[in-house]
């Protein structure tokens, strides 16, 4: 059992133990969940310090046969791409626990148990190197999120959670079909082995097969991202979810889709990915602009942030499918940035909901006079989200735009509109909520940040600055992995253009 597996096992054990604590021990449940998630975070820092930068391939690998027929491996490991996503997960989970401390009163035991189960599933998705194992974790994530939204959400929670589950399920069954199809060709679920078979030409796909398999994977991931027009579950799920649910959903779960595209779609089906990139990029750009425009007219803060996610994640997809080093680096960096800054926005909106029991922008106004620290923190987060230099999102957006410009300048030009629009809707919302005259009622109900809330938000603000100023801490590991994935895609494209020499796998 290596460090990675310890990080993975902690939340799973925590889930089971939390379920076993008697219901009456309310404080014990919360404290235990917090302790487990903090320990998991501390352990995951060990992953970063122990990570050998510049060394190709996965690290912290553990591989053994889980099920013998068909051979399915427990194969976990991390590379530069998954490292930061795992740390993002473990970093945000204690915050998710802490932010729910007061807000969750009924059936607290199940709530905190499900948060830990969610963490387990998310880490697993990023650590799995066996297609089957990946799918297992991918589906496990659904269950706790389904309950988090459905049991502790707002008024329309049931509609939102069922929609969320069915959307994701519909996408992932197609992915399952594709995984089995690939297995029948390659005879293994081991991702590294499958990739090497693809690249050596041991298995080659004809054009239709390649396109359909690519689409089966891609649609499952695109639903999770979510890419326009498959995004409609997202605003509902976000608005109805409790704060911790929105936080984990926006910050980590959406990244599962982006991660899947980079990890699986590009290396396995490079030819199909390049061939289909044009319409994917167009959809991404539509998503960027459409998300921004819709965000602008939202009367509800949480919905506004949700649509801004659609817009931000359009950048990620655009960066991935630009097939340039810079674009992909920017995409991955943007995934992390979005996790931090949108996560912070959801937390802050949640705090304001706890104070005012409303999410409508018109119910606020003049909050800055009542709670100046809250306003300051919110401002920093807003500026990070709109991409102010020195803060994290700027780096990601800049890299994506530059990388895309290398590939196709028109795309880049259109995508840049989204950056401008994001400034519009975020600042306009800020103005309406925080400036103006505060009503007496609002002054009465808008206390300053308390210590617990400071503990939740301060680390995120610190990360925004760190990631905005000193990118060298994070980017090299990402670029290194991306350059390898990029090399895999281009080399394979060349071998696919030359009439396939590899013998087709006997069926």
């Amino acid at each position: 059992m290596n460090l990675l597996e310890i990080v993975l096992a902690l939340p799973a054990i925590g889930f089971i133990l939390t379920m076993l604590i008697p219901r009456s021990q309310d404080f014990a449940v919360r404290a235990f969940a917090l302790a487990v998630s903090v320990v998991a975070f501390l352990a995951s820092i060990g992953l970063a310090t122990g990570f050998q930068f510049g060394q190709p391939g996965q690290q912290f690998v553990h591989d053994f046969v889980w099920i013998s027929t068909p051979e399915i491996h427990w194969h976990v490991g991390i590379d530069g791409l998954s490292l930061w996503l795992i740390i993002l997960t473990t970093f945000l989970t204690p915050i998710a626990v802490l932010i729910s401390w007061k807000a969750i009163q009924h059936q607290a035991k199940e709530f905190f148990a499900f948060v830990l189960l969610l963490e387990f599933g998310l880490i697993g998705v990023f650590a799995a190197w066996d297609l089957f194992l990946f799918y297992t974790f991918w589906e496990i994530v659904l269950v706790p999120m389904y309950f988090l939204i459905g049991m502790w959400g707002h008024d329309r929670r049931i509609y939102a959670t069922v929609k969320f589950f069915l959307y994701t399920m519909a996408g992932s069954v197609l992915m399952l079909a594709a995984i089995i199809y690939v297995y029948n060709l390659a005879g293994t679920f081991d991702y590294a082995a499958i990739l090497s078979q693809f690249q050596s030409g041991q298995i080659s796909l004809n054009h239709t097969e390649g396109t359909l398999l690519f689409l089966a994977f891609f649609v499952a991931f695109a639903i999770k991202v979510p890419l326009f027009p498959l995004h409609t579950w997202l605003p509902d799920a976000h608005v109805e979810a409790p704060t911790a649910g929105s936080l984990m959903l926006a910050s980590v779960m959406l990244k599962m889709g982006c991660y899947g595209m980079i990890r699986f779609c590009l290396p396995m089906f490079p030819a199909a990915a390049r061939e289909n990139a044009w319409w994917i990029n167009i959809l991404a750009i539509i998503g960027i602009i459409y998300g921004a425009l819709v965000a602008m007219v939202q009367p509800n803060m949480k919905k506004l942030v949700a649509y801004s996610s659609v817009s931000h994640l359009g950048f990620v997809v655009l960066g991935v499918f630009s097939f340039t080093q810079m674009g992909m680096d920017g995409a991955v960096y943007q995934m992390l940035n979005h996790g931090i800054s949108t996560g912070a926005l959801f937390i802050l909106v949640g705090m304001m909901y706890e104070r005012r029991h409303s999410l409508a922008i018109k119910d606020f106004g003049g909050v800055a006079t009542a709670a100046p620290w809250l306003a300051t923190v919110f401002l920093i987060t807003t500026l990070a989200s709109v991409g102010l230099p020195m803060l994290n999102n700027f780096v990601g957006e800049f890299l994506v735009l530059q990388g895309t410009a290398q590939a196709n300048f028109t795309w880049s030009a259109f995508a840049a509109i989204g950056v401008i629009l994001s400034a519009c809707y975020m600042l306009w919302m800020y103005q309406r909520v925080f400036f103006g005259n505060a009503s007496d009622d609002l002054k009465h109900h808008m206390p300053e940040l308390n210590i617990r809330e400071w503990v939740c938000i301060a680390p995120l603000i610190a990360m925004m600055l760190w990631m905005g100023i000193y990118t060298q801490s994070f980017l090299p590991a990402v670029s290194e992995t991306n350059s390898r994935i990029l090399a895999q895609t281009s080399r394979a494209v060349i071998s696919a253009v030359i009439p396939a020499g590899g013998a087709r796998h006997a069926r």
Partner: protein
């Protein structure tokens, strides 16, 4: 062929489970007048003891593989697997019946005796190597289930269920028997390997064999409730006593699938090109009709009846793939399905109350708050129905669709998997009601489940996780067992 009419000691040992069940069943009938007033629970204890003894007998019989009683029976891994499966289904049925029977004040020896006879018939079916034996086993099993479906004779719904089941069931058996007769006329034998061999003879008319196969297909599709021969299932499952519905949807179905596989993959192996497209269509129809009809149901038993039609469709996908992979996947799926279905029905038995008054989906409202343990168990079964990883239902689906893709049934796989996404909706609905609705009147008054019912909930849940997390052992067994004696 020299015929030795006196069965050898080995033959008796190979027939051990059936002997034990018959003796125990008869004993129950004799004991009924003595204990039915004073100690009604003892019948259940005796049947469980007999079923456990039969499992051990089945395991020891597996140590003596081969033919028995002049090739009428064949003891192989396939038969042993199904024997153990139907016996385990019997145990879980009895466990969930204790509370039901005492609630309905209908605890008699004959109920348990009938269950034992039915299971015994299923044991004969799954080890039969001869069409006549298959027919005898099927009839023993079916007749006992006809009676069980109408067990509460003062209940109108029970009577309706029993009558429907009996009339349509006999009709279907007629089709099967007609097919057997034609095959006998064509090949001069009722033994499966002999039929297999004579169909390989170019002189045999494959057209006539096809007709016989079609007739037997109709009969068997009825027994496994594959669309369009599924019409009886919702009414019968809804009307029969809840433990018996659970039993009928799992035990007889598993046994019927066992003979389905055995007949079509051994005797009719030669004409597989003819029947495979038909199975393809029936599989797709069953999945689609079952799932879409279940979407609109409000009655729990009826919903699970349609879901059982859909699951029969998934297993037919495995049959359509016509390979060892498919056989092994079907075997695995039947076990996984039996566990989750019996577990879900145990929850229904628990909440339905005397006279099965509370069967609406809304009656589950707030179960998660009132009875968190039972609700958690139900959640496990529902997740397994949906096919979420780490449950037996997921691995079952996975193996089935893997077998189908291996045989090139890409479209059937895609449609089947999309079907399972549709199905998620109605299973989720139960979870929504259990966890996200305020407790209703029904769940407010519930007492904790009795020990036997707890066992009927926990054992399937453990089994579901076992099949979902460590399916290796079972799967190795099914794969070794999936090659038939031809």
């Amino acid at each position: 062929m020299p015929v030795n009419f006196a069965p050898s000691a080995d033959d008796m040992l190979r027939f051990g489970p059936e002997i034990i069940l018959t003796v125990a069943g008869t004993l129950l009938m004799v004991l009924d007048p003595l204990f039915s007033r004073r100690l009604p629970r003892i019948f259940g204890h005796i049947s469980i003891a007999a079923l456990i003894a039969a499992i051990f007998a089945a395991i020891s019989a597996n140590g003596l593989p081969g033919f028995a009683f002049s090739n009428l029976l064949v003891i192989d891994g396939f038969g042993t697997y199904f024997r153990i499966l139907v016996l385990a289904i019997g145990i879980l049925t009895v466990l969930s019946s204790y509370r039901y029977l005492s609630r309905e004040q209908a605890d008699t020896g004959e109920y348990h005796a009938l269950i034992l006879f039915s299971v015994m018939g299923q044991c004969v079916m799954v080890t039969a190597n001869d069409l006549i034996m298959i027919f005898i086993g099927l009839e023993i099993s079916s007749i006992a289930s006809y009676v069980l479906a109408g067990y509460l004779r003062n209940d109108k719904r029970n009577n309706e269920a029993a009558l429907k089941y009996f009339l349509l069931g006999s009709f279907a058996t007629g089709f099967l028997l007609y097919g057997v007769a034609i095959i006998f006329g064509l090949t001069g034998s009722t033994q499966l390997p002999a039929i297999h061999n004579s169909l390989r003879d170019p002189a045999t008319s494959l057209m006539v064999a096809g007709v016989a196969a079609a007739l037997m297909f109709v009969g068997l599709a009825f027994k496994v409730s594959g669309a369009p021969f599924h019409i009886w299932a919702p009414d019968v499952y809804q009307g029969a006593p809840a433990p018996i519905s659970a039993f009928m949807a799992t035990g007889p179905k598993a046994a019927a699938f066992a003979i389905f596989l055995r007949i079509f993959l051994t005797a009719f192996d030669r004409i597989s090109a003819t029947w495979m497209p038909i199975v393809w269509i029936v599989a797709l129809l069953s999945m689609t009709i079952g799932n879409f009809a279940a979407l609109t149901q409000n009655n729990l038993k009826r919903m699970l009846a349609y879901s059982s039609i859909a699951h029969a469709g998934y297993i037919l996908v495995a049959l359509a793939s016509n390979s060892d992979f498919g056989t092994s996947a079907a075997m695995f799926y039947l076990a996984a399905y039996a566990l989750m279905n019996l577990g879900a029905f145990a929850v229904i038995i628990y909440i339905s109350g005397k006279g099965e008054k509370h069967l609406r989906i809304e009656d589950l409202a707030g179960l998660g708050q009132r009875q968190p343990f039972t609700a958690a168990m139900m959640t496990v079964f529902l997740l397994s129905f949906i096919g979420v990883p780490l449950t037996g239902g997921f691995f079952g689906k996975f193996y089935i669709f893997r077998a189908a893709l291996h045989s090139g049934l890409t479209w059937l796989t895609v449609l089947g998997l999309l079907n399972s996404a549709v199905a998620a909706y109605y299973y989720l609905r139960l979870m929504v009601v259990m966890y996200m609705h305020e407790p209703g009147e029904v769940t407010k008054d519930l007492e904790s489940p009795s020990p036997a019912l707890k066992a009927a909930l926990v054992l399937p849940a453990i089994g579901t996780f076992f099949l979902g997390i460590l399916p290796g052992a079972v799967l190795t067994f099914t794969q070794n067992a999936a090659t038939f004696v031809k």
